[in-house]
């Protein structure tokens, strides 16, 4: 009879019957963390969109989507912008899968898991709202097929309210310290919430959260204590170190291929940013994307320790070490500059093939220096406490070998903005700092406000939604 064909697949787990044990929750949580690795695309593309770097690559048409973003001529047809949408929603959906099953069972330690999940969901949502503005949201669980034509893009304020609510719940659930190195803790959630508030110019709230992180005493600027050396901040030795509030973990122990970049356990941005055809000490070769501009290099004073930590001058380095390398894209607008993003280029290491895709460099998503500067900005812009703001800025400056500033008011704000650029060079924050402070058109060639404040919704998504979602203005 037909019972013969009524079988369950051997050795597999059905999603309908999952979440029956603590282990199920832990395993699903790993699935949600996994997609963080795909956010390398947010970082490198954020940097390319800014005035810090040229797109680079092999030729002026290599990874055409990035080249177009660099020139600010991108359109809704752009597979790289689409990656951004797809990868971040993938992470979101995996977190939502746990949220919608969170009441299945009770066990000790569930709060911590749910807290981490809520943080991750907020992290992905925040990235999406930064890039795309209004997005569809579904706080109670996964998106189900068909909802793309019924669920509207929620206004930015609603998205932010949703992110805030997730983070506030996460803070309630999370322990102050990570259950394991690399995992989300309460301070990471507070730092992210502070950032979310800052983006909305809720300066009081932002300063509260960020001050809590600072006052926790759990973090300090790397290089200021013990035998730490600031120059090592972006080396393997300082990973998950005292400056790391939230860090995305990567490793080179598993191979990867171009067919699924988001599947790599390595930091794809790093291989893509490496020096082309490099042979020599310390570094490994890569694809030559994300090339700091002369103007970015010149933004540092020569006594600023951050310059040579942030930017590799390949000609000097080659002269010094006899290293050899190749030049790819030579286009004046998007090509070779002689500089590389030293924070995130490959170091010599034992990683699996394709070595360009499996670099183990962790991404310092939220650094304590960033927290200090965000706090300073909130305190200053919110007219809360310029003295404290100045103290925070000077901590960051001192670590870079620079002297204290004495300014306050708008002079201090200009200094804070400049310090943000110098401190966070190559880390993917610059574009959004310029946009949220209304300075993007002033600094970024080709940028038109308000059009370029947001990136276009991928054309494919507009089609899938059958008109439910309209394109961002100007595209």
């Amino acid at each position: 009879s037909d019972d013969f064909v009524d079988v369950t697949p051997p050795y597999s787990i059905n999603s309908e019957t999952f979440f029956n044990s603590e282990e199920d929750f832990q395993n699903a949580l790993i699935g949600s963390y996994d997609v963080l690795q795909a956010t390398y695309v947010n970082v490198i593309m954020g940097e390319i969109a800014s005035d810090n770097v040229n797109a680079g690559g092999e030729s002026p048409t290599d990874v055409i989507g990035w080249q177009q973003v660099d020139r600010m001529i991108h359109t809704p047809v752009n597979s790289n912008i689409r990656d951004l949408w797809n990868f971040n929603f993938a992470g979101l959906q995996r977190a939502a899968f746990i949220i919608e099953n969170k009441d299945n069972i009770e066990f000790e330690g569930k709060d911590q898991i749910i807290g981490e999940v809520l943080f991750l969901r907020a992290y992905f949502n925040f990235e999406l709202v930064k890039w795309f503005g209004p997005i569809p949201i579904k706080p109670d669980g996964k998106f189900e097929l068909g909802e793309e034509v019924t669920t509207p893009r929620s206004p930015v304020e609603e998205v932010y309210a949703y992110i805030e609510s997730d983070l506030i719940q996460a803070i309630e659930n999370l322990a102050i310290n990570s259950v394991e190195i690399g995992r989300v803790n309460q301070m990471a959630a507070r730092a992210l919430l502070g950032k979310v508030y800052l983006y909305q110019e809720k300066f009081d709230l932002a300063a509260d959260q960020l001050n809590t992180v600072i006052n926790s005493g759990n973090y300090h600027l790397y290089g200021t204590q013990g035998d730490e050396n600031y120059a090592d901040l972006f080396e393997f030795i300082a990973e998950n170190g005292p400056e790391s509030v939230f860090e995305i973990q990567y490793t080179g122990v598993e191979g990867a291929g171009f067919g699924c970049l988001q599947c790599s356990e390595g930091n794809v941005m790093v291989g893509f940013s490496g020096v082309r055809g490099y042979t020599g000490p310390v570094y490994e070769s890569g694809f030559g994307f994300c090339l700091p501009r002369q103007e970015a290099y010149d933004a540092y004073t020569s006594n600023d320790l951050r310059r040579d930590v942030s930017i590799l001058d390949i000609e000097d380095w080659a002269a010094e070490t006899n290293a050899t390398y190749n030049i790819g894209n030579q286009d004046p607008v998007t090509g070779h500059t002689g500089y590389y993003n030293r924070k995130y280029i490959p170091r010599n290491n034992d990683n699996q093939p394709d070595p360009n895709l499996t670099q183990p460099n962790n991404y310092r998503a939220i650094r304590y220096a960033d927290v200090l500067l965000m706090a300073a900005e909130s305190l200053n812009r919110g007219n809360i406490n310029d003295n404290l703001a100045r103290t925070y800025v000077n901590q960051v400056r001192n670590r870079a070998g620079l002297s204290d500033v004495q300014d306050s008011g708008s002079q201090l704000l200009d200094i804070i903005y400049n310090e943000r650029r110098l401190e966070l060079m190559g880390e993917g924050h610059r574009f959004f700092d310029l946009v949220r402070t209304g300075r993007a058109q002033q600094f970024i060639d080709g940028f038109t406000a308000p059009k370029n404040n947001l990136f276009p919704i991928p054309e494919e998504e507009i089609q899938f939604s059958q008109g439910n979602w309209t394109q961002n203005p100007g595209y």
């Binding site: 051997p10 002026p60 001529i73 797809n86 793309e148 190195i181 690399g182």
Partner: protein, 993 residues
């Protein structure tokens, strides 16, 4: 009137024929022969004639004279109307077949001596398109029957001696094959949810009853070489164009000194070898009164024309067939097939393949340079292909045992019950070793730190159990009725086990085993999978004929499959066929040059269930891996895999066929015409593009499989064959077949188009499935010559959105939608890989002891995408680039060379070529020794022959081989540096004793 006696024998083997019919002409007075071929017929008028007929032999009419004993020898006739054709759970005479079938018999296979059974279908039968997946030894073939109507697996169902065979045609010894029958239309509905791609029924040779033991030995040896090399730049030309490309961009020329460059390294000469091929086959067949048997064994050994023994294929087969009548009413039949194949393979496809590297390597680099670090930068993918060959270590073995046990019980008059079990069991083992090697800085093939060994073991098992009852009867000499009812149970299950580790001692393949490898922790991995798929089917068929000239059949099959969810688990597949033998009508004029006309038609619904398993369930098969912050080791979790679709159901193909068969001029000329119209609806599209919000772009995720569209294939098929004995010494046979395909996508739900294929690096998918267009058509920019000067550039919309502003010498793209902007919306249909028509020709002569045979086939109107040029500044180029634009008026077809930004390499019709071709596939000349000479050395038959395969291809296509095919319905016709099918010169001997 008198009684006569006689003996009917096979004219060739002189074996007696059991069951031959002897009838007095124009009467019903007749009889049949006994086991010894003898007969006695009473009441024969003195002036009468007797008609002697036997299935598979030419009938003969003999006038009765004074004699009373008639020894009658019947000539075998494989092409005769009485020829029996297998049609699935039964047989039918060719005369009464009402569906569209094509058949290739053992004679054709003997004439072709193919290495792979699929090649026997290439160009020999209409409506069947066979393309090899590559020229590397052991490559399987893609077989497409009447076009492509699915974007899942489009290969036909293979039924070997009644059971579903899953080994691929390449694991069957071609010399074991008696016949290949292809069901092309709704007649295949008896195979229900598995038959919509068409069904290939293979019958293998068995022994014959009362046959003296016969030994057949066949062998050939040959050499293979590439049939083509692509014209590339030599070192001097390369340096010239390279410098020009830098100068054109205002950059420093990389090569200062031309002296001594000369022609440099010809990388194609370096990688192509002349490689041997060898085959032996021995078979023993015979039978006694109640038992017949056949055993055979074969060995094929083939090296590759690239990398010789590094791409070796060997296949050993053994088969056993046993047929026994246990009692008058009960018989059993067993066939067993064993195949052991061994394969070593090079990277032979796409970016990074050996041939791709041979085409792109700079000719200025010497063949001995293994590490390209200080050489000109060729990008991260191009390495020395010789080094690559040397560093390739792998081994894949498959041991397969398949077989069928059948029994037949004739339990009552006109009734028989058949039961049979067919099975396949296969063990596939892979071993790969990747040594530590530095190809040069940044090369993607580098393994700098640690080598790697990986092993895989896959066990696949299945069985098919058939039970069916047949009733056959004849009423009033007018009504012929056959009823068949049956069921089939099918189950396949298996598992795979994989492991890998680093740290192979001494970096040597000889030590490449997990037991010796030292890697531990994250340097040692294991994985596995398992599956279980089942199908339960019930079916019935009625075949009815009136006066043996009005023919009718109807069938219905019900399938239930584990592949589909409870909502759509069961499907019904009905079909009807009908035929009318016009030439048997009384009104049909006698003594006409027309011997036979049959008009036939069929209509029915067939299914396709070739999707992945359990797509209706949401399984947690996604990738969920994240490194520990403590020590960087990997932590594994779970995540959702492909999105599910609980309502998934099979594809349904509605197939209509109208055909007519003619036999003319005393059966010398045979003509078949068919029109077909196949509408496939509920097309299953796996990983259908859906909004990213559903998370399908997560690692290990993918879109759901949904029933998303409809495709129509229609066309005509024509087959001619001509056989004649022009004189005692000169015989001729000739065949021609032609098929047309018109393919149109008629509907897609849920999305506007589905993309596929790959072009260049990082470019959008080049192939699409879209309503109103052929499936897998090429979607790219249209070009309109070359910008000759800046005025022309300025007069044209900006091309900046394609990647760069145009300069004189760049390709001009057409503003197809006329909106004054050139962007991705200007992409249009720039060709498709589906041929307008294909045809095959075969011609054979035999003159005295010599025989000559030739086969050719052609494909017209298919396009191919040239995708083996790496768009990198410094790689070598094809020599058509010498005709580049260098100034106003110099070229309007080949753009300038430049390292400056340009949009010249985006996917456009510049890269699409006409892939039409005519290939002379086989030319052979044989000599058959006189029987009286060879009988002295106890031989019955001895033929020696010389043969050339893939002799010459007429084509305008510039790549290695216009038959290049990837097989994927969306993404076909894209040539990644296809490994060319070798030309083979061989010499062979066939002996019978």
């Amino acid at each position: 009137q008198k009684s006569i006696t006689g003996t009917v024998t096979d004219a060739v083997s002189q074996e007696p024929l059991l069951g031959a019919t002897i009838v007095v002409e124009n009467t019903t007075n007749g009889t049949t022969t006994d086991f010894d071929g003898k007969f006695t017929l009473n009441n024969v008028p003195d002036t009468a004639a007797i008609v002697v007929s036997y299935v598979g032999y030419k009938s003969t009419t003999i006038p009765i004279g004074l004699a009373t004993n008639y020894p009658i020898a019947l000539e075998p006739d494989v092409e005769s109307l009485e020829d029996i054709v297998v049609i699935g759970y039964g047989r039918e005479s060719r005369r009464n077949i009402t569906g569209a079938i094509s058949k290739v018999d053992s004679e054709s296979i003997e004439r072709l001596e193919p290495q792979n059974a699929a090649q026997a279908l290439q160009g020999t039968a209409s409506g069947i398109n066979v393309t090899q997946q590559g020229g590397s030894p052991g490559s399987e073939s893609n077989i497409r029957i009447r076009g492509i109507a699915t974007n899942l697996d489009a290969s036909p169902l293979i039924i070997l001696d009644g059971f579903e065979y899953r080994g691929g045609l390449n694991s069957i010894n071609p010399q074991d094959i008696e016949s290949i029958t292809v069901l092309k239309d709704a007649q295949a509905a008896i195979y229900g949810s598995t038959g919509s791609n068409g069904v290939i029924l293979i019958t293998t040779k068995s022994g014959k009853r009362n046959q003296e033991t016969e030994f057949n030995y066949q062998t050939y040896v040959g050499v293979q070489q590439t049939s083509r090399k692509i014209p590339l730049l030599n070192a001097t030309e390369y340096a010239l164009l390279l410098n020009e490309s830098y100068t054109n961009a205002g950059q420093v020329s990389p090569i200062d000194n031309f002296s001594g460059l000369g022609k440099g390294t010809d990388w194609q000469n370096e990688v192509f070898d002349t490689a041997p091929i060898m085959n032996h086959n021995l078979s023993i067949r015979g039978g006694s009164e109640n038992i017949s048997y056949s055993i055979s064994g074969s060995l094929l050994d083939q090296e590759g024309i690239v990398g010789s023994e590094k791409s070796e294929f060997s296949r050993k087969t053994a088969s056993l067939s046993l047929d026994a009548s246990i009692t008058e009413i009960f018989s059993i039949n067993t066939k067993l097939f064993y195949a052991a194949s061994k394969n070593k393979s090079l990277n032979d496809f796409g970016l990074g393949s050996v041939l791709f590297n041979a085409l792109n390597m700079a000719p200025t680099i010497g063949p001995e340079v293994d590490n390209l670090t200080n050489e000109i930068d060729l990008g991260n993918e191009v390495v020395n292909p010789l080094t690559q060959i040397r560093n390739t270590f792998n081994d894949s073995k498959t041991n397969r045992l398949s077989g069928t046990f059948q029994s037949k019980l004739e339990y009552a008059k006109n009734l028989d019950l058949q039961g049979r079990i067919g099975f396949n069991t296969a063990l596939t083992q892979n071993r790969d070793f990747f040594p530590v090697f530095d190809y040069g800085t940044g090369k993607v093939f580098n393994r700098l730190e640690d080598n790697l060994v990986s092993l895989g073991k896959i066990n696949d098992n299945d069985y098919t159990f058939d039970l069916f009852n047949t009733y056959q009867n004849n009423f009033n000499d007018r009504h012929n009725l056959t009823l068949m009812l049956g069921m089939t149970v099918f189950q396949t299950k298996g598992e795979g086990l994989f492991g890998s580790a680093t740290g192979v001692p001494s970096n040597l393949y000889t030590f490449a085993d997990l037991s010796l490898a030292t890697g531990s922790g994250d340097n040692r991995n294991a994985n596995s999978y398992a599956y279980d798929v089942r199908r339960l089917s019930y079916f019935g068929r009625v075949q009815y004929s009136l006066d043996n000239r009005y023919l009718f059949s109807a069938m219905l099959r019900r399938d239930a499959s584990t592949r589909f969810g409870p909502n759509n688990r069961v499907g019904y597949f009905p079909s009807v066929t009908a035929g009318w033998i016009v030439s048997d009508e009384n009104f049909f004029p006698e003594n006409n040059f027309i011997d036979f006309i049959k008009i036939r038609a069929s209509y029915g619904i067939i299914g396709n269930d070739r999707i992945g398993d359990f797509r209706y369930l949401s399984l947690l098969t996604g990738e969920a891996t994240y490194p520990s912050g403590v020590d960087g080791s990997l932590i594994n979790g779970v995540a959702i895999g492909p999105l599910s679709n609980p309502n998934i159901k099979w594809e349904e193909a509605k197939k209509l066929d109208v055909g007519v068969d003619f036999r003319l001029f005393k059966n010398k000329l045979n003509f078949v015409f068919d029109y077909y119209l196949n509408d496939t609806k509920d097309l299953l599209v796996s990983n259908i593009p859906i909004s990213g919000i559903f998370g399908t772009y997560a690692p290990g995720g993918s879109g759901p499989t949904i029933n998303a569209g409809s495709v129509r294939n229609q066309g005509i098929e024509i087959e001619f064959s001509y056989n004649d004995n022009l004189s005692e010494n000169l015989k001729i046979n000739a065949g021609f077949n032609l098929s047309t395909i018109q393919n149109t996508v008629t509907e897609i739900n849920g999305t506007d188009f589905i993309e596929g294929g790959q072009f260049g690096v990082g470019q959008p998918a080049p192939s699409r499935m879209e309503v109103g267009k052929p499936i897998g058509y090429f979607y790219g920019y249209q070009t309109n010559g070359i910008f000759q000067n800046i005025a022309e550039v300025n007069a044209h919309p900006s091309q900046i959105l394609l990647g760069a502003e145009a300069q004189p010498g760049d390709i001009r793209y057409v503003d197809a939608n006329g909106d004054g902007v050139i962007d991705s919306n200007d992409r249009v249909n720039i060709g498709d890989p589906i041929p307008d028509f294909t045809f095959g020709i075969n011609l054979g002569f035999s003159y005295k002891n010599f025989d000559f045979n030739t086969y050719a086939f052609a494909s017209v109107g298919n396009d191919i995408v040239r995708n083996y040029e790496r768009a990198q500044d410094n790689v070598n180029k094809l020599n058509y680039r010498l005709d580049r634009w260098t100034g106003e008026g110099t070229s309007n077809s080949v753009p300038r060379v430049t390292t400056a930004p340009s949009a010249n390499n985006i996917f456009s019709d510049f890269f699409v070529e006409d892939g039409s071709f005519l290939r002379i596939q086989t030319v052979s000349l044989g000599y058959n020794f006189q029987e009286n000479i060879i009988s002295k050395i106890k031989l019955k038959k001895l033929r020696v022959y010389a043969k050339v395969d893939n002799l010459y291809t007429f084509t305008e296509y510039s790549g290695f081989d216009p038959t290049a095919s990837t097989g994927a319905p969306i993404g076909a016709g894209i040539d990644f540096g296809f490994y060319p099918i070798p030309r083979i010169y061989s010499f062979g001997v066939n002996a019978q004793f």
